[in-house]
Symmetry: C2
Subunit: 198 residues, 2 copies
């Protein structure tokens, strides 16, 4: 139809995609594997989608990898307005503030798209945030699994920088991984213990 296929729809989609470009400027606490610099949220999102592809065999049986990948491609767009909140620095009060900023960001950013398309992508983002479906829980698990892999590769660089120990990693990362794919947590827990030394 004219609404989804006309020149106006292309213009809106290209405006959304140009807006998304700004995610490349949001730096995260985690470094690249070689420790040379911090990772940004755009390349992190790409890496997570690749994690979903490569680790698809480990997903619970009711998971749709395509839906997971769509969630992962979108999940950090709100950081363009709200910034990245390092997981080990969060408090209950800061989480509430962040959640509000992210909701406003989602309204604005998905609102750039034609209405029905924006609503569909926004629904995927809401589902990811709620972490109640099997797809969202697997996506969240990957979002928690990738940073420790980067950290282990760099000898625990950002854990040491931020004074993070095993118990905190287990509470803020391990629990979310284990809820979807216990095996992935079992795989890295002993390696994390060895690097954090506790």
């Amino acid at each position: 139809s004219g609404l989804t296929l006309g020149a106006e729809a292309i213009t809106a989609r290209c405006a959304f995609l140009a807006e998304a470009d700004q995610l490349k400027r949001i730096d995260r606490a985690t470094t690249l594997c070689d420790g040379s610099r911090q990772e940004n949220s755009a390349e992190h999102s790409w890496h997570l989608a690749l994690y979903a592809l490569a680790l698809a065999d480990h997903a619970p049986i009711d998971v749709s990898i395509f839906r997971v990948i769509r969630m992962l491609l979108l999940h950090d767009l709100v950081e363009i307005d709200a910034g990245d909140a390092p997981i080990y620095a969060q408090t209950e009060a800061s989480q509430k503030e962040i959640a509000q900023a992210e909701l406003a960001a989602a309204d604005r950013i998905f609102g750039i798209l034609p209405a029905s398309e924006g609503a569909a992508l926004r629904a995927l983002w809401d589902e990811f945030e709620a972490a109640e479906t099997a797809d969202a829980r697997f996506a969240k698990a990957l979002d928690r699994f990738q940073p420790p892999i980067q950290n282990l590769a760099s000898g625990g660089l950002s854990w040491k920088r931020n004074g993070v120990g095993f118990d905190m990693i287990e509470a803020r990362v391990g629990a979310t991984i284990r809820r979807s794919v216990p095996l992935l947590w079992q795989h890295i827990a002993p390696r994390i213990r060895a690097v954090t030394g506790i």
Copy 2:
């Protein structure tokens, strides 16, 4: 099975994913929309997958967006070994050399994965490179469509830097876009003409 779900398979997949991290260090000729720095191939791959999601309504009817996104997530991994070859700098001789380096890179990088999984992802990369299927042609069209959008946003920064005019853009970029989605080329061609001034 033990082959795809055991500890060895996880170790191989994590090694592949850690190897993929190096794509974040491969810089392309194109800059971010604001011209602040060159884009790297990892964040470029994320952006292309998002293009596929947002522009899915414009894909030819026989295209599978999930297959396209899988191709786009993988398509530049070979640059970890072979580097990025800016499209406007390529000659027939350089293209032959690049193609050989990329084949060797594909053998090495997909070879890190468990055999059947590596073969499946390698087949998607081969299909993308051959550009003969509808999925591969749509993926290629997006790979050619995104850089001009970045370039237009920055006032044609990397075209000016590299002395690239409209005819060259039409030949090396326009033709590939038009072959899959004529409307997308029609959308940007007049804007490119206005910026390149020819």
